[in-house]
């Protein structure tokens, strides 16, 4: 393995950890806000990152909790996605990368990415629908504006995972060839 590759890999590990910690903080903040909003509705106008959903809450509690559930689910899934990425970059052996563990992790990344994309898309369509009924949802678009990118990424990662699985098969056969 060249020194450049090792350096790039180390940078990748550090960046993954930073993003994971950031996503965990975001997901944690959103969960705490969600619990608070159940018992103290006055907090709804000043949620995580100064998000103000008081208008939606006052108009319809179901709409508020529905949209907030989407936000929560997406943020938790993103944190889980990076957890899997960290597991992969920590345990992968670049000298012998073709094994079942790595193949499984890549497949898991693909499924998580697809789930994020689909839920983001559904949330975006739901928000559009609510907008038609007079709800102000512009401040929520930041949570699902990249849904198509996630779906595209999921497709690409799935193809990579399939090729990797084939690589594992070939590696195993090669290992058992005398």
């Amino acid at each position: 393995m060249s020194k450049t590759n090792n350096f790039v890999f180390t940078v990748l590990k550090i960046v993954s950890w930073l993003i994971f910690v950031g996503l965990c903080i975001e997901a944690g903040g959103l969960i705490v806000n969600f619990i608070f909003s159940l018992y103290k509705p006055e907090f709804v106008h000043n949620l995580y990152q100064k998000l103000d959903l008081s208008e939606i809450y006052n108009k319809s509690k179901w709409a508020f909790f529905g949209m907030y559930s989407f936000i929560l689910f997406i943020s938790i899934l993103k944190a889980y996605l990076f957890y899997v990425v960290i597991k992969l970059v920590t345990k992968i052996n670049l000298l012998k990368p073709f094994n079942n563990f790595v193949a499984q992790q890549i497949m898991q990344i693909s499924y998580s990415t697809f789930l994020i994309g689909i839920i983001s898309y559904v949330a975006r369509q739901t928000a559009k629908n609510l907008q038609h009924h007079g709800y102000v949802v512009d401040n929520l678009n930041q949570f699902w504006e990249d849904s198509q990118a996630f779906i595209l990424m999921a497709a690409v990662i799935y193809i990579i995972a399939t090729i990797f699985k084939k690589g594992v098969e070939i590696q195993t056969e090669n290992d058992l060839t005398v």
Partner: protein, 69 residues
């Protein structure tokens, strides 16, 4: 697997141990063990040639096809 490896039978007939055979055919003990225990997925012709030469036998003496049904 339908292909049965009768290496242990030939080794017993020729009275040769696994260590001796591995030295003669230039194959590691672990690889030879993989072959002997039937876990191998494939065998190179060069390996088959070396084993037949070391055991003074034919490929048919080492490899047998048995229909699973």
């Amino acid at each position: 697997m339908p292909i049965i490896v009768n290496l242990d039978v030939m080794m017993a007939k020729r009275k040769i141990s696994l260590n001796e055979l591995s030295e003669k055919v230039d194959l590691t003990l672990s690889n030879l063990s993989i072959l002997k225990t039937g876990k191998a997925k494939a065998i190179r012709f060069s390996t088959l040639e070396a084993i037949c030469k070391a055991l003074n036998c034919q490929p048919a003496d080492i490899l047998e096809y048995r229909d699973e049904n």
